[in-house]
């Protein structure tokens, strides 16, 4: 293992990528603890222990890596970016112009990315305003004696909103930089970091509140989830592909038979991220539009059915969303027509099926059928802990980092990243981690 790590660091290209990613990680954590201007650092620190974690804050705080309750410059987290990219991708199906852009290729894709960024900024402004409104009204720090934001003039508030929005933009940029020049998918790696930041704290809470026995059970449970995620993540349906022999000049090419791997869970963790961040939205909105003291019917319905994690409605919606996003994401990322076209171009075919459209249809057929168990499995792993939390949970039944969603995201991202390092190593003929 150690020799593999050494060889990974000895490869100049890979070393650069890994160090670059680690540098972004360091910068990201700096931003997560730096308090925003106009926020009383002492007051925030003084109120911190009083904060019972529950409801929407738990999820938000988790996805912002604890930055939210610190009111730091990265308080908004990458949620706006995730939400914006969901919205834009959903719109590519609905709005014809977006669909055109998507089909246009690279130029259109760039345009869509640009739209995503604008939308992110808009959502970040909204969320930052909401965060500040909650903090000043006392919704975030319940029964806090001091004012968290002492100067509540318009200018000061605007400055904080501006800073937090800029923070979101920086995070978005960091994510894209990681995707482009580092290792792994930037967006999911940043979420991974956020969850990783909460693990020691939440683990300590469980250990101190519920004793060693429960902690051990939780650990075993997490281990079981990890290995089951690995199991399904590695399951592949291999579609045989035969390549025709052909002469190019004086040399013979092809004539090999390989396979096209289709993973049982082709979509990875993205559906889970999408579904969970979409679920928190209505609650956030309801908190933003109505004052803390007032209870409208909308808010009540939201609190009872959508936010409450042990409620059947919540579980059902979550499950359905995960299945939907799995299919949706696969349809976006795995273009069967392109695959069939590529195969045809290079003289490949699936034995027994003609190249071109029949091949695309066959791929579509297999993909649709193999995705169903994959998506159901994702949903089950994500919601199972909700039942268990019901059993063990007293006060802190929202131990998110040890819930299915967080573990799924962590394992998925870890696997993705390690595999990417592995494939980079393989290019240079080193033996990888995963023999």
């Amino acid at each position: 293992m150690l020799s593999v790590i050494r060889s990974a660091l000895a490869t100049p290209d890979l070393r650069k990528k890994i160090l670059f990613t680690l540098m972004i990680v360091v910068l990201y954590r700096v931003g997560a603890v730096t308090p925003a201007p106009g926020v009383s650092y002492e007051a925030v620190q003084a109120c911190q222990p009083d904060q019972g974690e529950q409801g929407v804050f738990s999820l938000l705080n988790l996805f912002s890596g604890g930055a939210l309750l610190q009111l730091s410059i990265f308080s908004t987290g990458i949620m706006p970016y995730i939400t914006a990219s969901i919205i834009v991708q959903l719109l590519t199906v609905v709005i014809p112009r977006f669909e055109e852009l998507k089909k246009e290729g690279q130029a259109g894709q760039n345009k869509l990315t640009q739209y995503t960024r604008y939308l992110t900024i808009a959502l970040a402004v909204l969320q930052a305003t909401g965060v500040i409104a909650l903090a000043t009204r006392g919704g975030m720090f319940a029964n806090c004696p001091q004012d968290v934001i002492p100067d509540s003039s318009v200018g000061s508030t605007a400055l904080i909103v501006l800073t937090m929005t800029a923070g979101t933009a920086v995070m978005m940029w960091m994510g894209e930089l990681i995707t482009e020049r580092g290792i792994g998918n930037g967006m999911s790696l940043l979420i991974f970091l956020n969850i990783a930041a909460r693990i020691p704290i939440e683990g300590e809470i469980i250990l101190s509140n519920q004793g060693g026995a429960v902690f051990a059970v939780v650990c075993v449970f997490v281990l079981a989830i990890i290995s089951s995620v690995v199991f399904v993540e590695q399951g592949q349906r291999r579609i045989p592909v035969q390549y025709a022999k052909r002469m190019v000049g004086r040399r013979m090419y092809g004539g090999t038979s390989t396979y096209l791997p289709i993973k049982v869970n082709q979509a990875g963790v993205i559906p889970v991220i999408f579904a969970s961040s979409l679920l928190y939205l209505p609650d956030l909105i309801s908190r933003l539009v109505t004052p803390e003291t007032e209870t409208s019917w909308f808010k009540r319905v939201m609190a009872e059915y959508v936010t409450n994690q042990s409620n059947w409605v919540h579980i059902a919606i979550y499950f359905a969303l995960i299945i939907f996003f799995t299919y949706f994401y696969i349809s976006i990322t795995f273009n069967v027509d392109d695959r069939a076209e590529d195969m045809k171009k290079y003289g490949g075919f699936i034995p027994g099926i003609r190249p071109g459209r029949p091949t695309a249809e066959y791929l579509h057929f297999v993909l649709n059928r193999i995705t169903l168990p994959g998506s159901i499995y994702l949903g089950i792993v994500a919601i199972l802990p909700n039942f268990f939390l019901d059993l063990t949970g007293e006060g802190n039944n929202q131990n998110f980092p040890f819930g299915g969603t967080a573990v799924l995201i962590m394992v998925g991202v870890a696997l993705d990243t390690v595999k990417q390092i592995e494939s980079q190593l393989m290019q240079r003929n080193y033996e990888g981690f995963l023999r």
């Binding site: 954590r29 730096t34 650092y41 990783a196 930041a197 690995v230 590695q234 066959y362 168990p373 394992v411």
Partner: protein
């Protein structure tokens, strides 16, 4: 020349038993395999002709590409289609290659190591930065 299965029944032994065509030979070989399971039912010579008819039927049982079947799927009722879909899901699932135990152990260990490393890193960073921020603002 004569094999063990044919020795028992004398009438069949008189007939010419070696099939001339490749298909016939294949059928005979299959019949010899069948004869182990149901020895009393067929003699080797009879099966040479008889099973050549049943061979195509057997081949039909193997899964054909379903693109053709999909066309008439529109006429069936919704329950039929759902149940067929589920059957196809199971069929695809059978073709999935699952990781071996060794792979599982390696991957789980690697994932655990990665997560542990990142958690430790982030925890250390947070601790340092929290101290620094406290020194600056606290």
């Amino acid at each position: 020349m004569s094999d063990d299965g044919a020795k028992g029944n004398g009438e069949d032994a008189r007939r010419p038993r070696r099939p001339e065509t490749a298909a016939g030979r294949r059928a005979r070989r299959r019949a010899a395999g069948d004869a182990v399971k149901q020895p009393a039912a067929v003699g080797a010579g009879k099966a040479g002709r008889g099973s050549s008819a049943s061979a195509p039927a057997k081949r039909k049982g193997s899964p054909a590409p379903a693109t053709k079947r999909e066309d008439d799927g529109e006429k069936q009722s919704i329950f039929r289609r759902i149940s067929r879909f589920l059957r196809e899901v199971v069929a695809e699932l059978r073709k999935v290659i699952w990781p071996t135990r060794k792979q599982m152990v390696t991957y789980t260990a690697v994932v655990l190591a990665f997560v542990a490393f990142m958690v430790a890193l982030v925890w250390a960073l947070d601790w340092v930065f929290a101290k620094a921020v406290f020194a600056l603002f606290g």
